[in-house]
């Protein structure tokens, strides 16, 4: 052990002797490790955010979208086809394993209030929406089933809309105008933040879906239906039941709707991040390879430069193994320091980017460990040939080397 420490000290001294060269040699490893760690940090952060968000949406939540987006021709996308109705939603609510249903209609509208105006998403929802979305009302109340039936002109505002239309004012009881129709503010939602797509979830005005359909947009179909299942365990079952129910109700050969679960979304996200990780591993492998070749190159130069030193060490009794170990440790020290610097740089830049871009960054400990270990392994692999070459020198020739 002490001999290892002594050898590491010798290695550090040899590397210090050529600071610039050592740094340039490490650069390959530093950049490779840093870029991987940085991107992994940001990707993991984003993935975690998505997962948190999906979880906050409720893991037992399903969304029924209208429109068959799987057919080949040009389509308006999910929720664009006029196939889902409020009756569909009520039929779904009758299913045994559903606890709450909210028909959804969405529209961007210019909202006026208080002499100010703001373009925002005006969303028609059912009274159970906050419960399904796991979203608290910060002040005031949510509209009720009664409000839905009476096409009440009540609105619940998101935090962003409050900030824009009622700065420094209590919005409760105030009136906002959508397409010149006055809605009374009866509640304010708790802030929820951004989605991972960068969408501000608080930039929203909730109104009863009936009011939306009849007073604002005048239509008789909904964009989607939000369904909460009784538990996570019955989601697949509920998905199947909804599919069967709507297929029967719509009497269409091909389903003209899609039922998505949050689990599917989560699955998709983790699939994507899995692919990202594979891609990154490839990039990491290539950059470590390049870094390793750089180390091998410099170690070969170092062996040549220090031929006489090797000769001296052999003359005073160093065995081949001692020489191999010395140069291997030197190569590993080089690559491990490079790896450590790369990790520091990678974590640092991920933190910087996440601070600048307001995106989370999480660098998993196992990636740091893997990055460090693989740079050390690179040192062993690419340091071995030069070290072996050094140990095979003839002491007489090495001593005579100028």
């Amino acid at each position: 052990m002490m001999r290892i420490i002594a050898t590491v000290r010798i290695a550090l001294r040899a590397l210090r002797r050529n600071k610039m060269r050592s740094l340039l040699t490490m650069l390959g490893i530093i950049i490779g490790v840093a870029s991987v760690i940085c991107v992994v940090g940001l990707t993991t952060g984003a993935t975690k955010q998505v997962e948190d968000q999906v979880r906050s949406l409720g893991e037992s939540v399903l969304t029924v979208f209208s429109g068959n987006f799987t057919s080949g021709a040009v389509k308006g996308g999910w929720g664009s086809a006029p196939t889902l109705t409020v009756d569909d939603a009520q039929a779904i609510a009758q299913l045994p394993n559903t606890v709450a249903v909210s028909p959804e209609v969405r529209d961007r509208e210019q909202v006026l209030a208080n002499g100010l105006n703001w373009n925002t998403m005006v969303q028609g929802e059912g009274p159970d929406y906050p419960q399904i979305r796991n979203w608290k009302i910060a002040s005031g109340v949510m509209f009720t089933e009664q409000d839905v039936r009476s096409l009440a002109k009540s609105a619940v505002l998101g935090k962003t809309v409050v900030d824009e239309l009622f700065p420094n004012e209590n919005p409760l009881g105030q009136v906002i105008r959508v397409r010149n129709i006055p809605f009374t503010v009866i509640g304010v939602l708790a802030p929820k933040g951004f989605t991972l797509w960068g969408q501000d979830q608080d930039d929203v005005v909730l109104v009863p879906y009936s009011s939306h359909m009849h007073r604002i947009t005048a239509r008789n179909f909904v964009n989607s239906i939000l369904v909460e299942a009784a538990s996570d365990g019955v989601i697949d079952q509920v998905q199947q039941e909804i599919t069967d129910l709507l297929t029967a109700r719509h009497r269409s050969l091909e389903p003209d709707f899609t039922v998505r679960t949050q689990l599917e979304l989560m699955q998709r996200v983790s699939d994507t991040s899995q692919q990202m990780v594979f891609l990154l591993s490839g990039v990491a492998a290539v950059s470590l390879l390049v870094g390793g070749i750089g180390i091998m190159n410099i170690m070969l130069v170092s062996v040549t430069e220090r031929t006489r030193e090797i000769g001296i060490r052999m003359a005073v009794g160093a065995r081949a193994r001692d020489i191999v170990v010395q140069f291997l440790i030197e190569a590993v020290t080089l690559s491990a320091i490079g790896g450590a610097m790369g990790i520091a740089l990678g974590v640092g830049s991920a933190m910087l980017i996440s601070a600048l871009k307001h995106t989370p960054s999480v660098t998993p400990a196992q990636w740091i460990a893997v990055a460090f270990a693989s740079s050390a392994v690179i040192g062993v692999v690419f340091g071995f040939y030069p070290a072996w070459k050094a140990s095979k020198l003839d002491p007489i020739d090495a001593l005579r080397y100028e």
Binding site: G317, A318, R319, L399
Partner: protein, 252 residues
């Protein structure tokens, strides 16, 4: 059993290119404990080859070499390395110290490769003792480039002594030194030899050889002369004479 070196009909042939070079052609030599031998000869006489074999840096092609009672002619590379570490101290013409490494650490170097581990504090102690023997204890933390040639060679001698070898091998130890420093170094060797250390030295300078006790002269791979030194010079006397001469010059 008191012979440190015993060569029996040792040959060395180099197979370089098309011609085989027969560098050493049957040398038999016995050197006893406490001897101080100079091996001399013109370049190409085979003395360097002989020296490499004596130093266990090279195998004889034919013949037998007993070092301190051990037959080393058939040992592997690593076994030879161990023998060098335990039995032999080298002093080279070009000093061969590690640059940018303190004198003390240079002296500690052979102990790094000792089989039974030497503790760090003991290493330092032994290295300091060695440096004291050659009179350089005060320069222990100096680097080779801060030392004169004579001082560097003393560090090299201290390094050669640190593992208490059976044999001190010096290859042209005064080749890079001026005449006064050369005599000083020979003084160090004489002092060591007086303490019983066996020294074999290669040189081509006759006056340097006359500080030893026995001269072996080689030609064309053979030992042609092997005799005790008749008019042995004593380094201390020679140094005194030199100083007196210098003083005389200054006075004049």
């Amino acid at each position: 059993m008191s012979s440190v070196i015993k060569l029996e009909e040792v040959h060395k042939v180099y197979h370089t290119g098309e011609v085989d070079v027969h560098a050493v052609r049957g040398v038999s030599l016995e050197i006893r404990r406490g001897e101080f031998v100079a091996v001399m000869g013109a370049s190409g006489s085979g003395k360097s080859t002989l020296m490499n074999m004596l130093g266990c840096l090279d195998h004889p092609t034919k013949g037998k070499y007993l070092l301190d009672g051990i037959d080393v002619s058939g040992l592997s590379r690593d076994e030879l390395a161990d023998i060098r570490n335990e039995k032999i101290g080298f002093v080279f013409q070009g000093f061969n110290l590690l640059a940018r490494t303190s004198a003390l650490e240079n002296v500690e170097l052979p102990m790094l490769y000792v089989h039974h581990r030497v503790r760090g504090s003991e290493q330092r102690q032994r290295a300091m003792n060695s440096l004291e023997i050659v009179g350089l204890a005060k320069r222990a933390d100096h680097h080779p480039n801060q030392l004169s040639g004579g001082q560097q060679q003393r560090v090299a001698i201290a390094r050669a002594l640190v593992n208490q070898p059976a044999l001190l091998l010096a290859d042209e130890p005064t080749g890079n030194l001026d005449s006064q420093t050369s005599i000083e170094i020979m003084g160090v060797f004489q002092k060591l030899n007086d303490q019983g250390i066996t020294i074999v030295m290669v040189t081509h300078e006759l006056d340097i050889a006359s500080y030893t006790r026995r001269n072996v002269i080689m030609r064309d791979g053979h030992v042609v002369t092997d005799e005790p030194v008749k008019k042995r010079l004593i380094a201390e006397d020679e140094l005194r004479k030199l100083r007196e001469a210098q003083q005389a010059v200054n006075l004049a």
